[in-house]
């Protein structure tokens, strides 16, 4: 037990180290963007008609602390980042933590929900498909899977929107109805969110499910063909006990392992889907920050949070794997 605790702590420290290294990369990338926040802000002011001088820029730099050395600024940034504080946006001039507010957690929840949807479908269906000899079932699953893998998410999103608009006269965009958008959280707002969120969850979950289905099925095929399954059958183990207790039990480890990878994929697809569905979530903000306004502070904060989520999930799956698989667990305890 003590060893297990030590393992968890070591893994947590490694995860934190990973985040620190990632933060250095992210911070360096933010620096590489031509110009800094001070210039950007004053350039913006200039377009508003007020004249600026080099001295104004210097003053602004000092105010923002941009005149300090790189490493010092990075250290400050990372210490704040671990406390959820990312400073002000360069362009919008508001606190990033406030600006992101619920948006980041909403995005993360949508991604996690898609991931959960994918595996809730893929695990039982994949296991049954692998153990069934039914050609019809297997072939139809294959077609659905290929459709899911081959069809881009944005196309699916556009098709569903088109369909909804033409046949139901409804526009399925945004995450909230207008009356709830700025309202404080309440049960009614939560229900309203569910009413809207199913679409992005479905669209993101669609290809994730197809992908997970292929993974689960392939892993199960591997396990079913193994000698220990035949050996268990030769001892009289049969039916569900044989299927779930032997091959499915042993395919679980690699399935858990693939979760972190899948979350990463879903996150990557989120901004495009968000853009099409006109959702003002973190993904949409990221595109806005990166592609339109060059807002390096905001982009850096979002990228850091995304990475932190993936590192956190990987940490969780590592620990879960140690719980599930005695080979991993015993190698820790020894």
């Amino acid at each position: 037990m003590l060893n297990f605790a030590r393992f968890v702590v070591t893994r947590a420290l490694m995860a934190a180290m990973t985040l620190v290294i990632v933060s250095l990369v992210v911070f360096s990338l933010m620096e590489l963007v031509p110009g800094d926040c001070a210039e950007r802000y004053l350039a913006f002011k200039n377009t508003q008609g007020s004249g600026i001088s080099v001295a104004d820029i210097e003053l602004e730099r000092q105010r923002l602390g941009l005149d300090k050395p790189f490493l010092q600024r990075w250290a400050l940034w990372i210490v704040n980042a671990f406390q959820g504080e990312f400073g002000d946006s360069c362009i919008l001039r508001v606190n990033i933590a406030q600006l992101l507010g619920d948006k980041f957690w909403l995005s993360l929840s949508i991604c996690m929900a898609s991931l959960a949807l994918a595996y809730i479908i893929a695990i039982p269906v994949g296991i049954l498909a692998a153990s069934s000899q039914n050609a019809f079932l297997n072939n139809s699953l294959r077609i659905v899977s290929y459709l899911g893998l081959a069809m881009p998410n944005f196309l699916l999103a556009l098709m569903i929107m088109l369909f909804a608009t033409v046949y139901f006269g409804e526009t399925l965009t945004g995450l909230f109805s207008s009356e709830f958008r700025d309202a404080p959280w309440s049960f009614a707002k939560f229900l309203d969110l569910l009413k809207h969120a199913w679409l992005p969850i479905f669209i993101l979950g669609w290809s994730a499910t197809a992908f997970a289905l292929q993974t689960v099925r392939a892993l199960m095929f591997d396990e079913i063909g193994k000698l220990y399954v035949t050996a268990a059958a030769a001892r009289g183990v049969h039916g569900r006990k044989l299927l779930w207790g032997y091959p499915a039990r042993h395919a679980l480890g690699p399935i858990v392992n693939s979760l972190g990878f899948d979350l990463n994929r879903i996150f990557n697809e989120l901004p495009i889907v968000a853009l099409i569905l006109v959702m003002t979530d973190a993904g949409a903000l990221l595109i806005e920050a990166l592609a339109r306004s060059n807002d390096q502070q905001l982009a850096g904060a979002i990228i850091f949070l995304l990475t932190a989520s993936i590192v956190a999930l990987n940490f969780t799956t590592d620990v879960a794997l140690a719980v599930i698989d005695p080979r991993v667990r015993k190698s820790i305890i020894r």
Partner: protein
């Protein structure tokens, strides 16, 4: 001596995309209670498939011919193995009256389930024991096969044991339900020679102690000579020679058996060249007409070898061979 299991005209084909593939053809033999039978042949000779049919354990695409019959004389009465369908019916041949040990002990234990849990599961399936009794019986059995510190091993996983230890544990598991027939599919092939000798000794001890019949599948004639009372030689799904083990090894009659014995390296004459059986075992998709061995036989006697399937010729009370050379002698 009373028969333990009788196999009559066992013919088994697999339904594949390339059509029906014959894996076993017209195989008949009888194993007596307490007898050890060696089943010898190259890979692809159908020995494992034959053994698996005794537990009705072949893949779902297996097709048995209507004449095939396997009768197990269990304590409760004769059982027609091939007519068993439901898991409850199959229980008697799967871990009940018949147990099987596999070639790779590492691969035949589930890697993420403790050895003890797998043993207890089997005992609960085949007896009315309580979990506690099943556990103590399992530990006793592990101890019996020479595993030290059995109570601790009970809670360990296969990957924590050495190769020889794993095979001992496998034997303990197979014998825990007190079967009347043990099928050992190349149980020593994956082991070091020294461990191999230990495991063979252990199996011999246990046979005399438990009085069960054993079918020992191997390609190693040396192992057969040490363990078996009788030997059946298989080639491409057919039984080609059958007899007492010493008689067959000293006086092999079928050209294939002769080839197998000549191919063994001889320690007393290290300079003697190895004489392998020429050629390869043909693909089951291209089974030769007539005698299945005619593509590699050095003693073809004539047209009949190419056209006629040789019948079993009794050479004496116990020794028989399926070869055209001996047909006239027998008539």
């Amino acid at each position: 001596m009373t028969p333990l299991i009788e196999v009559e005209s066992l013919t088994l084909q697999f339904r594949t995309d390339e059509g029906l593939i014959t894996a076993v053809e017209d195989v008949s033999f009888t194993l007596m209670k307490g007898e050890v039978m060696g089943l010898v042949g190259e890979s692809g000779s159908g020995k494992s498939v034959t053994a698996k049919s005794l537990m009705h354990l072949n893949a779902r695409n297996a097709v048995y011919s209507p004449e095939s019959r396997i009768t197990l004389h269990a304590d409760t009465g004769p059982v027609d193995v091939l007519s068993l369908r439901t898991p409850r019916e199959l229980n008697v041949v799967r871990g009940g009256a018949i147990s099987m040990i596999f070639q790779e002990p590492m691969a035949s234990f589930a890697p993420a389930i403790t050895i003890g849990k797998q043993m207890v599961e089997q005992l609960l399936l085949h007896s009315d024991m309580s979990k506690g009794t099943a556990k103590s019986v399992s530990i006793e059995m592990l101890d019996r096969v020479g595993i030290s510190d059995a109570a601790r091993r009970f809670d360990q996983y296969a990957f924590e044991l050495s190769g020889g230890m794993r095979q001992r544990a496998m034997i303990a598991m197979a014998l825990s339900t007190n079967p009347s027939l043990l099928i050992a599919d190349e149980p020593t092939t994956a082991l070091d020679v020294t461990i191999q000798a230990q495991v063979i000794d252990l199996m011999k001890d246990l046979v005399s102690e438990f009085g069960m019949g054993i079918i020992f599948i191997t390609h190693d004639l040396g192992v057969v000579a040490q363990t078996a009372d009788r030997v059946n030689v298989m080639y491409l799904g057919r039984l080609v020679e059958e007899g007492p083990v010493r008689e067959v090894i000293r006086n092999p009659r079928h050209p294939y058996t002769q080839g197998l014995i000549a191919a063994l390296p001889k320690l007393e004459d290290l300079d003697a060249p190895l004489t392998p059986v020429p050629g390869d075992i043909p693909s089951p998709l291209e089974r030769p007409a007539g005698c299945v061995f005619n593509t590699r036989c050095s003693q073809v006697v004539g047209e009949e070898c190419m056209a006629l399937v040789p019948t079993n010729c009794r050479l004496d009370e116990t020794h028989s061979v399926a070869c055209h050379i001996y047909r006239e002698a027998a008539e």
